[in-house]
Subunit: 294 residues, 2 copies
Amino acid sequence: MSIMQIIDGKLTAATIKAEIKAEVENIVAAGGKRPHLAAILVGHDGGSETYVRNKVLACEACGFQSTLLRFENDITEQQLLEEVDKLNRDESVDGFIVQLPLPKHISEQKVIEAIDYRKDVDGFHPINVGRMAIGLPCYISATPKGILELLRRYNIPTSGKKCVILGRSNIVGKPMAQLMMQKQFGDSTVTVCHSRSKTLKEECLQADIIIAAIGQPAFLKADMVKPGAVVIDVGTTRVPDATRKSGFRLSGDVDFEHVAPLCSYITPVPGGVGPMTICMLMLNTLAAGKHLYY
Amino acid sequence: MSIMQIIDGKLTAATIKAEIKAEVENIVAAGGKRPHLAAILVGHDGGSETYVRNKVLACEACGFQSTLLRFENDITEQQLLEEVDKLNRDESVDGFIVQLPLPKHISEQKVIEAIDYRKDVDGFHPINVGRMAIGLPCYISATPKGILELLRRYNIPTSGKKCVILGRSNIVGKPMAQLMMQKQFGDSTVTVCHSRSKTLKEECLQADIIIAAIGQPAFLKADMVKPGAVVIDVGTTRVPDATRKSGFRLSGDVDFEHVAPLCSYITPVPGGVGPMTICMLMLNTLAAGKHLYY
């Protein structure tokens, strides 16, 4: 039996950001343009504020230019669409994001579809979703891209393996399934389980790789995992914790304490998939700066 | 043990075409516009000629207007893109297709992406592929849509069932997986197997529903199928047959003779999924005529 290894997302993300910074400095030294990420933030949601701040900090770490555009909650859909259009036409901006969620009176889907897909570094535009599904070059959204990157950098074999994905959300489960089944990415036998699955435990017990993105703290128990399996935990549910200053802690979808000893590789929460997501946004921004998907 | 039932795609397709025709006549009687499908055919490939002829005949059966635009094999990519653009701008045309394959000097992907997604009744444009993947209203391509329709019309339960898809092609396996996993369509536990899968037989033996789209004649044998399973055969490989005037017969991916007695439902080849595809193009054209996805 091999030794269990914890996949260090924080370290991997730091390594990738250093790689990006080195490449950016090379580009700039050769007379090229510094990649420029813009972000639109509507309102004052605490979570969104934190995410956007961290994205701006990551831009600095990578040597990117960044621009933050803030609007109040009472911005109309039409006004926001006009701001998106300005960024589409602004040649100095290589890629941009609109931080979600948006106020209820604005259609998120309409805003996403208004973004020029060539600047859509979040990878949420249907053109990018569709191009990813059929294996064409495109922006891949942060979480699935980050998981692929962790598997790759830890040299975890995926081809021909049975990969079980728990959850079928549009931002994790579905794209993850599409990527893990494709020859040029996971090349795995992929099973997607969800709330209606009658054989979820049996599927998990057969899995070489389990990607848990179901949003239920400690859902995946030790009796659902085959010895030697690789477990990727995408869950980040806030659970009350009086011992923390914040009053909560982040809980993954995996019962880490009991599952980890069984695994060949496992991601912790926090410090696993989480730190990779902003880092993948940075990789997408680097690609945008190079006009890689034009 | 229940009795095996053969799913009659030919009869189902005829029923749907009659339903479409009735709806079209209602639309026209109410002063509405007759749906209009245009098709671009490049060159003289025998298979393409047959497909396009059958599409034109199906349009007649449905009460649609149809237009066939023919070009020789030496048409340039630029000229073809201009023809696509004309159809995009032609308000009398509700939907159109470019019959594939195209000559080698023309990028099929470029042509597909040039089609206005609102007229893309084949459902191959990345916007439609992407919208389908995230469960938004859109044109769904003919083969997966036809399979969903057969399951629905035969009242075959899919929710919570284990569905194994053999093959990961862009036109069948991948979209089929996306649809079968979504709540509003199959709602199944979906597994995609392919050439690199090490546990294909085990997966099949656990399946309530098997959708075979692997392109290998009689690949699915009786010892891979659980009694009572539903088997959908998408294979249509031409195999030499000296007893036929054409010199060949169509073979499915399923060893029908030995698998059928085990099944609760099974599609034959020919006469199963095949006849549904053109019929689904007609349903998409009807939707185009109603501007359903504008």
